[in-house]
Subunit: 85 residues, 4 copies
Amino acid sequence: MTNKTANNVGGIAADRLRSIVERVERLEDERKALGSDIRDVFTEAKSAGFDVKAIKQILKLRKQNPADVDEQEMLVDTYRRALGI
Amino acid sequence: MTNKTANNVGGIAADRLRSIVERVERLEDERKALGSDIRDVFTEAKSAGFDVKAIKQILKLRKQNPADVDEQEMLVDTYRRALGI
Amino acid sequence: MTNKTANNVGGIAADRLRSIVERVERLEDERKALGSDIRDVFTEAKSAGFDVKAIKQILKLRKQNPADVDEQEMLVDTYRRALGI
Amino acid sequence: MTNKTANNVGGIAADRLRSIVERVERLEDERKALGSDIRDVFTEAKSAGFDVKAIKQILKLRKQNPADVDEQEMLVDTYRRALGI
């Protein structure tokens, strides 16, 4: 009976809902911790004399297909010349 | 001839490109100015003693269908009771 | 009296609150319309054969100090060579 | 010698840079996997008949101080009554 009450509040499977909410919170905490770890690596990079903005650009480039990167850069250069910038 | 050069740099219709870029920049400037106007209204609201966070919640609610808002609030209340929060 | 009622619901200057909310909504509508105008320019650019992603990169570059752009590009190139990418 | 070359390309400590870049990429991959795990829990919640939007609201409320939540809700209700919504 007690169990039934715990599991069913207002027609809601309370234990199931609680489990879902707590799992998401745990995963979000882990994700937040990773975000903090990433910031730590960038702090280390900066201390070692690297430019963080340039490293972020490198990370972005590495996510893309090298041929696409080249083609895009060529296009941007063409547009810059056309605009005289 | 000069015109042709101005209009065609590296196979690019330079004038057309410049027009596009400048129009986007102008629109972005106007959009940025509106963002600043909105912040000004919130500053005025705060000065008049209103709670800005609550006003933002009101704005969010007004974007939604009233029946949907009610249904959602009822669901959230049910879940809160089920979780005892 | 009626005016007083209209202006004061639950200790809240209702007319003032309504004016604030409606002004923000109007400004948000205008901002939304500008966003739509910007998308229209990009659609036009695409129809004219331009690469929208490259134009967005151009817009980003134009927001920056040219000397900073050059320095950043040099750094990224140095890092790319160091990593062999 | 070879080691020296590998470690120093254009005045850049290449190995150090590579280590930094690869660590960030690994952390980003883990973070992305957690995002996917979170989405899986929401999919499970939906399959179990829960309303995902309401659960997200619950998660948001649980991040806040209960007294602040109550105060905010009271304010929003007051504003709604003042505006007749």
